[in-house]
Amino acid sequence: MSRVNDHAEPADTEGGRVAGASAEFDPVEAGGASAGAGAAGSDAVGTGARASETRAGTGAAAGAAPAPAARPPHGSRPAHAPASGPGNVAAAEAAPAGGVREGSVAAPARQGGGSTGRPPGKEARGRRSGRARVRRGASGASPLVSGGWTPWLYLAPALVVLGGLLVYPIYQLGLISFFQYTQAQVSGGEPTTFEGFGNYAELFGDPQFWQVLLATVLFATACVVSTLAVGCALAVLLTRVRALPRLALMLAALGAWATPAVTGSTVWLFLFDPDFGPVNRMLGLGDHSWTYGRLSAFFLVLLEVVWCSFPFVMVTVYAGIRAVPGEVLEAASLDGASQWRIWRSVLAPMLRPILVVVTIQSIIWDFKVFTQIYVMTNGGGIAGQNLVLNVYAYQQAFASSQYGLGSAIGVVMLLILLAVTLVYLRLLRRQGEEL
């Protein structure tokens, strides 16, 4: 238990600053820096208890001046600590950062940071906290499992899955985008050559890419706005109608949601078919072709995209509205607020976290739309007028096995989506919303 104490002790000086800094940094660092922290943490995991001892020792070494108070426990080897300086420091820093999640190491660290200049009080609190931790350890798995690597143990399954399914593919994507990598290279017909930014240069030098990018952004924006408008409107409607119509609307929406994109696209195409489609007959348009003009083709695809993605928005927002206390809505209507006013001033602010999620989801989905365009405009429309980025990537790169170029397009798309999402989150944070 004194270990925690020792760690907290040099807080007055450098060690405490570090601990405090990394604890504060945790929410941001937890995801982004996991690679670096993981590398540093592995040191701690490998050597188990000894690592935490040296950590304490290092803390003392860093604290330097108030060393007498540090009292290395269990005869730790102080000589070892200065020798392996930076590595252990890294471990010492990574450990409390991870420890915040577990909740045992973080507490003293914060106290250490906050109680600068009041050693006695801090010491007492440190001891209390240390006891609490031991108790917890005893009631938990094993008292031996302690120190900085426990949280990593708990996180390990998630990290392994994330690393395998997310980090590794993205790493490969990035790697391949720097190579001349076609089918000939994959199957060993020709050597793989490093191209640097050659693939990117080729991509950015293609005027069609910029044209397609612009079309994609505009099309995705239109899709997101329409999807959210339709989804939210119907979600509000759901709360206003009786059980039977509600059930019918729910079933219809779920049916649309469950329809595979290829099937949905084919059906919509048939509805608007110039020769056999019922829409033209109903509107009396004769044999007007919806897919011939650029805008009308995009409009047709937009209808399908909205149709198959509004149910997600509707169901999620509906669930959110249901969770809003009835009194609030009642109070609003007693005050004479209109439906629109209730939505704008009561529901929307209360639903903001949900709206954020569905907006980001919609942005990502609609930016990546492929099937609808591919099926409905027959692979990009007349003379490629309806190409969006994903279909363009498929045609330019993957259909002809130019994996290097395709990866470059993938990386560009990834960066754009990340940037859009981050900017959006930031805007929300500015408005004082914690996420």
Binding site: E14, A90, Y181, G189, E190, Y292, Q396
Partner: protein, 432 residues
Amino acid sequence: MKLSVRFAGLTALAALLATACAPQTSSNSSSDKDEKTGTLRVWLFQEVGNAPKEKVVDSVVAGFEKAHKGTKVDVEYIPVDTRAQRVKAAFNDPASAPDVMEYGNTDTAGHVKDGGLLDVTKEFGDWSEAKDTDPTARQSVTVDGKLYGAPFYVGVRALYYRTDVFEELGLSVPKTMDELASAAREIRAAKPELYGLVVGGAYTYGAMPFVWANGGEIASGKGGSYASGIDSPEARKGIKAYTSLFGDDNCPAAKCAGMGGNDTISAFAAGKAGMAIGGDFSHTAVEAGKVKGKYAVVPLPGVKSGSIAPAFAGGNNIGVLKSTSHRTLAVELMEQLASKKTQSELFEAMGFLPTFTDVRQQVARQEPFVKPFVRTLSAGTKFVPASPAWAQIDSSLVLPTMFQEVISGKKDVTKASEDAAKKMNAAFGSAG
């Protein structure tokens, strides 16, 4: 201190990048082994109604196994739709690759570049039956003067027309391309519910005969140095001839610009068109449609009266994979699968047109339906550039885009063909 974590992370990442030399590559080197016994694996395409094909192949295989003691032949039929992925996988993992495989003839150059096919120039030259192979078919297995397989069958397109409509309107079968266009317009004028000649903006192989008949070429050159010819004056004439068929007086652009080959055949089979350009392989589809018994086929007329427009010689080949460990046996099996005897049996079973001129004449005598197709073939056919870049040009829709740009009025013939030529040359340049 915080920096040091970052630094350590970055250093680790940099080290990882430096040591991870490159993305994966398979060691698809040619095998030195030439075993005389063991199992030979064969991949053939799974056709619609595959049973008759299997029967023919089974008899070839039985004969082969009998002649070579201790060998076993394992035939697998792979779906045509996903063949590209299967073939790529086979090239990537020689251990699970077949010894002998069927492949589309436009893929030849690509497969060779990928390093998957075995050079069989010598064996093909020694093969007694090879001398009767028709030159275009031979060209479809040739890359840079070397042969990479044996032609299996060919597919070619000709003009389908409605005998009842022609009779009713008193039209005669068109003998030139101009007559073709005017006949098409007459049909449309008299029967507005029909397309005259149904054409498609995305139907490259239906459009190319117009370019070829006018003396144009997709590309010219040899091996590594192809140059696009699609912007030549002759080619432009052909593009103009084809795109002028799109319009309210024949095939409205709004509907026809997006059509591909199958769409035009569907329209014809459903009785919505007076004429269509279809292949010998479209026969079944048309027979199954409304127009059964009310149509006939003639070769697509050329520019001059009585001439035939050069058609695209599609079809499949059979090749040996470089990674085979049974080189001699595999080549022999390839020859037997592509032999005259097998091809004429396959014609009877599946309607595949043989690649040997003499066999083809013989089957044309038996089956009058194939006569116009055989005549088209003997009049001379054309083939796509034997360049690995063709796969890229094809999949990035360079030619359909060009036709559609002209049809929809986005660009004129000169500009559209110039842009297409630019894109093609870029592909030829990068893919070699």
